[in-house]
């Protein structure tokens, strides 16, 4: 019987091999890299469309594509990409071909800003849902604070994404907390992507090539966070010519230099940004300006080298730092210093013409030190995180309607958090945190995954996969099986319905404080006492394009449940000796909503509008009497409108408007008097009836900018200069930063005081490129 089974197995394998061979003999594979003709920068997500089969593929995150087609007398291909001139190829070949494509930038006669190309219908045709590729050109044009172009601010205008409070870090996706977003720069995790009290990000736009946000239907390749993956790629560097660009604004100055090391084969890019107000003010204002002093910098560097046609090596480095002293409203003062440093070494290799691999070695460091005073109390916090990771990913494209991905990642985490909070001593000497004495906590995280995207029929595509994460810390191992599936069904050429189901697990957690108005959050990992967070998300969407993809629209509904969410127990006051795991409460959350999105890609007026209606609640047995309560960032309504209008060849006007419901906070319902009999307490206590039972006022803000761009020739080289005049918060709305309660000392009437951060802020900045 055993031998019979072996025989059957052998025959089956032989049959499969024969079929594959037969299929191979009948097909031709074309593969190669798609790049910008001028800079040789690889293009991510470029479309390669076969006119023979009416099917296509897209280039991966390194610009590589592989397409297998039935043999024919002539093979027709159309290669297209956002903002580039499409190319048409007619090939008469009878064997596999390595075909690298160089695309030229498309410039319209009217100088229109092209957000997306005409025939780009990836949002409808791709099986993937919940993915938004953020257009870099929009990032360069939309107004932001003090003229600083910022990718993090732009993603907060996307449906399902919410900003944190002004002056704090983080963004919130589909009801998830700030720690549930994985932010990667060239595959290295960035734990805190913000500068200047969260007002703009650590990412220098001049160094960034592409950015995509996935908020649902997560491919099996991604994991470790429940709510979103923000994948950012740095530019590789111009392999043909040297290029310098930079700018100066009210906050900072930046400079980017890129160019070839060996023309066509290797290049570099170096990009830096630094604030300068601290340098200028030092001789005149020793203690900072009105109690505010600030210093930031970030630095990106990358080298890439192609030793052969099948190999590509990348070395990336990023470091960023903030140091700030803030003396704001009478209730709040703080001193904060934090920084990220990452380095990545990556090697791409082609095995034949269908198998692409990437192997990466990644190291990142993050630290945050915060000392803050609010009223008569102070808090000091230090968080340190070191990660060392190794990962490898394979993409196998055996046939046109199959794309198989598989891979593995391992990360060694070292975390060292320390917190203390107490009343300010009369002597003024506060407890300090000695970083070297904070106990380090070590853990191991790894994951395996495999997925396949199949075009089952002309109308139906399915992407299904499995991810198996494993986490080990303090003698405890957690392992899971995460199924992932998304499906797309085309109703017609411009319309599709998509659905997805995903399970995610997360092993690093940011424990948020519900009361403090500052980032007093602490990072910890899972352990025997702290179970991993997990989520299950269902999503369904209708995607429809109009006018030859000039207008993209979508409606998505989602439902997400989250378990093992983490908050501090009531009354938690942390000292240096506190075991953080003993003061945590665990619960669940659920979020559901509907997201509307419309984007106009062409014409003088471009931009998008998004509206999200959602609700997110949590439930913890130890909090709020075990009853359900709103998530702090449960914003019922979230509306964003961005627009760019090309006034003339040189002048561009842009505006963005955002409006969202206020976040939730906790107000006492009543007051209780307990006779104090001469104790230090005044006998008045609060009767809290429910958590997060009040709301800050609605937030809304309008930003505008005018930019004037001109090109001239200097010594035969094209020199481009741009003046940007912008106004942040045009009508100076006093949007709430936080609310605190106090009692009028004279009338004894309880009062609520609202602190606002940013009024109208005009600015001017100058940018150049040559």
């Amino acid at each position: 019987m055993k031998k019979f089974k072996i025989l059957i197995r052998t025959i089956s394998l032989l049959l499969i091999a024969a079929l594959v061979t037969k299929a191979e003999a009948q097909n031709i594979t074309l593969n190669g890299y798609i790049k910008d003709a001028r800079t040789k920068e690889s293009l991510i997500g470029a479309t390669v469309f076969s006119t023979n089969t009416k099917k296509g593929t897209i280039s991966n995150e390194y610009g590589f594509y592989s397409i297998t087609l039935p043999k024919a007398d002539t093979l027709g291909l159309i290669i297209s990409y956002v903002g580039y001139q499409p190319q048409v190829k007619k090939l008469t070949i009878d064997k596999n071909l390595r075909l690298d494509i160089l695309l030229e930038v498309k410039t319209s006669l009217l100088g229109e800003v092209v957000i997306s190309a005409e025939k780009n219908d990836n949002n409808v045709q791709s099986a993937q849902m919940g993915v938004i590729n953020v257009p870099m050109r929009a990032i360069s044009t939309l107004p932001v604070l003090a003229g600083e172009r910022d990718i993090m601010k732009i993603i907060q205008f996307l449906p399902g994404v919410q900003q944190g409070q002004e002056g704090t870090t983080g963004f919130y996706v589909r009801g998830g907390n700030a720690d549930q977003n994985l932010i990667q720069l060239d595959e290295a995790t960035i734990y805190n992507p913000n500068h200047l009290f969260g007002l703009f990000s650590t990412f220098n736009v001049n160094a960034i090539k592409s950015m995509s946000l996935t908020k649902g239907g997560f491919p099996a390749k991604f994991g470790g966070r429940l709510s979103s993956i923000l994948d950012i790629s740095m530019k590789d560097g111009n392999k043909e010519n040297y290029q310098i660009e930079g700018g100066i604004g009210l906050l900072s100055a930046n400079l980017t230099v890129q160019g070839p090391i060996e023309k066509g084969k290797s290049s570099f890019i170096i990009s830096g940004r630094r604030s300068y107000i601290d340098l200028l003010s030092k001789p005149f204002f020793k203690g900072g300006i009105n109690g505010i002093n600030y210093f930031l910098y970030d630095f990106n560097a990358k080298i890439n080298y192609e030793p052969s046609k099948n190999d590509h090596l990348f070395i990336s480095y990023f470091t960023g730092k903030d140091d700030a002293i803030y003396t704001g409203a009478s209730s709040l003062n703080y001193n904060i210093g934090f920084g990220n440093t990452t380095s990545t070494v990556r090697w791409n290799h082609l095995f034949g013409n269908k198998l692409f691999s990437n192997t990466s070695l990644i190291k990142n460091d993050y630290h945050l030190g915060l000392a803050t005073t609010q009223g008569n109390y102070y808090s000091m916090l230090y968080t340190g995180i070191n990660d060392v990771s190794v990962k490898t990913d394979f993409t196998y494209m055996p046939l046109l309607n199959h794309e198989v991905k598989a891979g593995f990642i391992y990360t060694y985490h070292t975390l060292f958090p320390g917190v203390v909070s107490a009343k300010i001593p009369k002597t003024g000497s506060r407890m300090d945190i000695n970083r070297d004495s904070i106990p380090k906590k070590y853990s191991n995280e790894m994951a395996f995954y495999i997925s396949d995207e199949i075009k089952m029929t002309d109308l139906l595509s399915v992407n299904y996969g499995l991810r198996i994460p494993v986490f080990h810390s303090k003698g405890k191992t957690y392992s899971y099986v995460e199924p992932r599936i998304t499906a797309k069904f085309s109703l017609n050429e411009g319309t599709s319905i998509k659905a997805s189901y995903t399970q995610m697990n997360q092993f690093v957690h940011l424990v948020p404080s519900s009361t403090a108005s500052l980032p007093t959050d602490i990072w910890i990992t899972s352990s025997p006492k702290v179970k991993p967070q997990n989520s299950t998300q269902y999503a369904l969407g209708l995607f429809r394009n109009f006018n030859n993809n000039e207008i993209e629209t979508s409606v998505e509904v989602y439902y997400k449940t989250m378990n093992n969410q983490v908050l501090f127990k009531e009354g938690t006051q942390i000292s240096l000796n506190t075991n953080l795991e003993d003061v945590l409460a665990f619960g669940s959350g659920k979020s559901y909503g509907i997201e509307f999105f419309m984007k106009k890609n062409l014409g003088k007026l471009t931009g998008w509008a998004s509206y999200t209606l959602s609700k997110t609640t949590e439930k913890f047995s130890e909090l709020n009497y075990g009853k359900e309560f709103p998530f702090t960032y449960d914003r019922r309504h979230n509306l964003s409108i961005t627009s760019i209008y090309q006034l003339s060849k040189n002048w561009t006007f842009s505006a963005d408007f955002t409006l969202y419901s206020g976040i939730a906070f906790t107000l006492p319902g009543g007051k209780i008097f307990v006779p104090d009999d001469g104790s230090l307490y005044d006998g008045i206590y609060y009767d809290y009836t429910s958590r997060n039972n009040a709301r800050l006022r609605m937030y809304n803000r309008l930003d505008i900018s005018f930019s004037n761009k001109k090109q001239t020739k200097i010594f035969g080289k094209i020199f481009e200069r741009e003046w940007v005049f912008s106004v942040y918060n045009l009508y100076s709305r006093q949007n709430p930063y936080f609310v605190y309660l106090t009692t009028d000392p004279v009338t004894k009437i309880p009062q609520a005081k609202q602190v606002s951060l940013l009024p109208v802020i005009p600015s001017v900045s100058f940018n150049f490129k040559f």
Binding site: A146, Q374, F673, P675, G678, S679, Y686, R691
Partner: protein, 296 residues
């Protein structure tokens, strides 16, 4: 150059933030009652009964006392009807109301409390089975750091009652006058005038004997009133039961949360009286007094 810096200053001043009073809607709130009663052997029972009010409501505390409740404390052999009474508070220069009984509390007896107010009955029970402790000695420190900040401290030393879980609270009987401060604020009661008044000062926190079974315990207590060298106080340690401890412990933690913005708010949990009231009906056993003289 200085002008440029000044221009940039103007920009940075935008980040200074601003603050204003706002009107916040009062969350829905149903008034409850607050009940405080600690039985002590050999003492007639006293009980405090207050109404709670919505947070943004202003009301004189004296008007919050419930004067028309029917309060009874009974055991298997007797029923004591507590009557409305008052004592004069020289610090506040006003009367403090309370309900006071007539029958002395006996040891090792189970007592039932019943309060009828506005058609609702509030009830609880407690058993007088606590043993008082003996204070060994009293020390003092002029600087001690804890979560309440840095302060001076009176340090009573006493031995824990072994083989049971115990809870403790500090109190001091002393004399104060108009030259002294209460919680950092000068006493300003016209009813004291140039004289002095005897007060009962209680420690803000309550303590348990976790990991200290039968050992000597020391507490560091920040005085609520200021003092002079040579001021005399009579220190006692209360042994309290769990319901009393739980009630005052959550008040202590909640007050910390009110004062310290980095502490999570504390919801007062459902106690003996269910959702209808907060408070306690518990037992206190006081130690004998030990004299303490404030040093230099």
């Amino acid at each position: 150059m200085k002008n440029l810096v000044i221009l940039l200053d103007i920009f940075w001043l935008f980040l200074a933030g601003c603050e204003k009073n706002i009107t916040v809607p009062q969350p829905p709130y149903d008034s409850r009652v607050s009940i405080e009663c600690g039985l002590e052997v050999g003492v007639v029972p006293t009980l405090y009964l207050y109404k709670t009010i919505p947070y943004f409501t202003i009301e004189d505390v004296r008007h919050l006392f419930v004067k028309n409740a029917i309060v009874k404390i009974s055991n298997t052999t007797s029923v004591d009807s507590l009557a409305l009474d008052s004592t004069f508070n020289y610090l506040k220069c006003e009367y403090d109301y309370l309900y006071k009984g007539n029958i002395f509390i006996e040891a090792d007896k189970k007592y039932q409390l019943s309060i009828l107010y506005n058609g609702i009955t509030y009830s609880a029970s407690a058993t007088t089975n606590l043993t008082a402790v003996t204070i060994d000695s009293i020390g003092y420190t002029d600087a001690f750091k804890d979560i309440y900040g840095e302060h001076e401290g009176v340090i009573p030393y006493f031995h824990d009652v072994p083989n049971q879980t115990n809870y403790y609270r500090y109190e001091m009987i002393r004399t104060v006058d108009s030259t002294m401060k209460y919680n950092g604020v000068k006493l300003n009661s016209p009813c004291i005038g140039g004289g002095s008044v005897t007060i009962l000062e209680e420690g803000r926190s309550v303590y348990n004997d976790l990991n200290l079974n039968g050992s000597q315990i020391s507490l560091v207590i920040e005085p609520a009133f200021s003092h002079r060298t040579g001021s005399i106080g009579l220190v006692r340690i209360q042994v309290i039961d769990k319901v009393t401890y739980d009630f005052f412990d959550q008040l202590d933690r909640q007050k910390l949360g009110q004062l310290n913005p980095f502490v999570e708010p504390v919801f007062l949990s459902v106690g003996q009286f269910g959702n209808k009231a907060i408070g306690y009906f518990g037992i206190i056993a006081r130690s004998s007094t030990v004299q303490f003289i404030f040093p230099d």
